[in-house]
Symmetry: C2
Subunit: 452 residues, 2 copies
Amino acid sequence: MQRMKVDFNYAMKAFVECGLDDTALEKYREKARMGLSRLLRLVDEDKAGFVNLPGQDTSAMKKFAKEMSGKFNDLILIGIGGSSLGMETLCGALLPYGHNARSFSQRGAFPRVWVADNVDPAKISAILNECEPEDTFICVITKSGSTVETAANFNVIYEWLDEGAKEPKKHICTITDPEKGTLREISEKEGFPVFPIPDNVGGRFSVLSPVGLLPAALLGIDIDKLLEGAASVTRDKYEKIITLSSIYMYFMENGKNINVLMPYSSRLSSFADWYCQLWGESLGKRTDTDGNIVMFGSTPVKAVGVIDQHSQVQLFKEGPEDKVVTFIEVEKHEKDKKIMAEYDDYGYLEGHSLGELCNIELLTTEAALKNTGKPSVKISVDSLDEYTLGSLFMLWQYVVPVIGLACDIDPFDQPGVEEGKNYAYGLLGKSGYEDMKQKFEEIFTKRDDFIV
Amino acid sequence: MQRMKVDFNYAMKAFVECGLDDTALEKYREKARMGLSRLLRLVDEDKAGFVNLPGQDTSAMKKFAKEMSGKFNDLILIGIGGSSLGMETLCGALLPYGHNARSFSQRGAFPRVWVADNVDPAKISAILNECEPEDTFICVITKSGSTVETAANFNVIYEWLDEGAKEPKKHICTITDPEKGTLREISEKEGFPVFPIPDNVGGRFSVLSPVGLLPAALLGIDIDKLLEGAASVTRDKYEKIITLSSIYMYFMENGKNINVLMPYSSRLSSFADWYCQLWGESLGKRTDTDGNIVMFGSTPVKAVGVIDQHSQVQLFKEGPEDKVVTFIEVEKHEKDKKIMAEYDDYGYLEGHSLGELCNIELLTTEAALKNTGKPSVKISVDSLDEYTLGSLFMLWQYVVPVIGLACDIDPFDQPGVEEGKNYAYGLLGKSGYEDMKQKFEEIFTKRDDFIV
C-alpha cells in the first residue's frame, strides 16, 4: 500500500513558467542520483548511520518504558537542538493537543512532558515550579556530553531533584555517546541507566535513535511502527527522494534561495521546526568538500496551513520569485468534526467538516500560487500516525544529504556553530579557553553613536 | 527611564563590510523620514488607527474581566491570523510557561486558555475533549465576521456548548466590527457581549485593540501597562523607528531578501510569529501604490535563541549573504537560576546563572556573525513585562508601515489572500461564488506522470 505520494506538477514548466522542463528534470535527476549513490557509499562505509536505524533492536527501550510506566507524573527532557526537536515533533504529532493539561488517568498513566531546551530562567522556573521532584523522571540527552545549555539545565534540575526527592539518582536516565564523553562517565559512575546514540548518527539525524525513541516509548508512542514507516523509505521510494532532491536543486540554482515547508496540520507544526534544523544546518556551509568558499545553502522557512494563509501566504503569492513552497497534506484527518451551521449566514458550511475545509484550503492555496507563477510541491500522507511520520522523517533525512552530496557539500558537519560556542566557553571561564575570551574581546567592539 | 535600546553597530560598514556607511545611512534615514511622515499623515486622516490605540478607554474590558473572574475554568479563543497571533504572543510572554497544566488555584483563578485557530480536527477535538461546556467561556474574534475558519470553528464549538451547557448563550462574547458584519448581527440578536475592533485597525495591527486586550484582561494581564509601554513609542523613539526602517530598507535594496528576528527568550517565541505576519503580509505586495508590478517584500524568518544556535545559526553564519538578523535581548531575566556544578566537568558553570548564560550566548553569536561579515541589529529591553512588550509591539507596528510607505507599498491591504479564499467559497458551495468554483477547476489541472 502506498501511504505517501509526491506531487510535483506545479514545479514543472508545463504548469508554472519558472519550473523545470523535461530536460532540466532529467539533468537534475542525474545529479540527485549521483548524490544518492554518494550517500549509499557513505552508508556502506558506516558513516551515515541514520539509514540503518530502522533495523535497530528496540527491546531495551520498550522494557525500560514498561518498568517506568505509571511511576511518574512528569517527564523532563533536558536537551537542545538535535536532542530536542525530534522528540518535540513526535509529541506534537502523536500526543493529543494539550497533553500536559490532562489528568493522569486521561493520559493513560503516561507522564506529562516538559522540554528543558533553552537556558531561559522563566521557562525552567515554571517547569520546576509545576513538577514535584518525587514524582518526576528526567532524561538528559547530549551526544557529546558537554553541550553547555544541557549541562547548565541538568545542574539546575539536578539540584532541584536533590533537594526534593528521597533518592534523586533513581530519577535520572541519560542518552549519550556509547563510549565516551562527560555524561557517559557520570552515568557509569552514578549508575544512571544510559542509552547510546550510535557514533555515526549526528544530532539532527538522531530522531529515530534513542534520542527520539526512548522519550516516545515513555509516552506510549508505538516506536516499532515509527521505524516500520521509516524503513518503507527504501528502494521503492528512491524515486520520491530523487524527484524532490532534483527539484530543490534546480530551484536553488535558479534564483530561489528560500524553501518553505508548509504542512496543513497543526500536529505537524514542530515537524517544520525539525525540518528547518535538518535543512539549515546540513546545507548552510561556507566551503565545499574541496575547500572552495561557496557560502552555500537556501533558507528553510516554516509555515503552517491554514493558519499562515492569514499571514505569510500574502507574501508567498505576491512577493518576489524567490521561493519554492512544499505543502504536506494529511488526506484523512482523525476525529473529524462535521459542521452544523447554527446561523443562516454560515449556511454554506453545513455538512462540510473541519478536515475537509482544511484540505480544500490547501488545494485553493496551491491553485492561487500556481496562478501567479509561484512553484510548489505537495507531499501527501493518507493519514498521520507513527508509520507515516516515520516515513516523513526518513524521506527528508535522505533528501537533504542527497542535495548536499550532489553539490559537493558535507551535510553531516556543522563547523559554524563552534566559533560562538568557544567564545562562550571563554567568557564563562572554562579552562583552556582563555585565548577565546581575548579573541572575543578584540572582535566585540562597539561605538556608542551606533546605539539609540 | 530608557527601557529599550537599538544597537546597530554590526549593520554598519565600520564593522561589517556589507553594511551602511555614513552616506548610505543618511540617504536611507531620509527615505525612512518620508515614510514616517506619510504614516503620520494617514494617522491624521484617521486611516491608521493602531497609532491611537494606547489612548483608548479600557474600563469596559476591565469591568467585564472582573465580572468573569473565577467563573470559568477554560477560555476558548476562536480566531485566526491577526485575530490569534497577538494574543498568543501576550500569553507566551506574560503567562507562566505551562499555564494550562497548572491547577485553578495556582492560576490565581484565571482560566486555562485554548486557541481554536486552525481548522484541524485533531486540535479542536482535543480542546473540546479536555474542557467542560458548563465551565467554559468562549470568545469569537473576527473583524469581518465572515472569516471561514473562525465561522467553522465557532459553529462546531457552539454545537458542543449547546449540548453541554445549561445556558449556552451566557458562555459567549465576541470581538468584531463596531457596526457591520455577520458576527455583529448575530451578537446583537443573541445578546452576546460584543467588543469593537475600530474600523481603521486591520487584523495584524490589532493586538492592542480588544482583540488582544480583552483575552489578556480575562487572563489577569495588566492591559493598561501594555498600553503605557506602547504609548512610549512616540516622538522620543522616532529615532529608533527611523534607524531600524532605514537599515532594513538598505539591506532589502542591497541583496538581502531575508529578515531574521531572533529573540533570546523562549517567552518571545510567539512574538517572532506575530512579527512574521506583520512583516510578510504588510510588505509582500505584487504592485506598488501606482499600480506598477514590483513583487516587493523580503521574507521574515523566525529564530529563537539560544535554541536555534543549534540549528539555523550554522546557515546564518556560513551560508549566503542574503540575510540581516535582528536579535532581541532581555537584559535581566526574571526568576534567574544560579548554577551549582554537581560534577567537576561542569565546574566552569559554577556561580553563573541561566539568564547570564543566555545573554553571553547572544553576545558570542553576534560576534561570530560579525566575524564572518554577516550583519545584525540588536534591540534590548531591560526586562520583559507588559510595558516593554507593549513597546516592542508598537515599535514594529511603526517600522513595517514606514518601510512600506517609503517604498510606495500599501502596508495596510492584503489583496493576495482573496483569490484562494474565493476559490474555497466556490468549492464549499457558498452562493454567489459559483464562477469561482469553475475558475478553480480550470486552473487546478494536474498530470499523473508528475506524481510519484
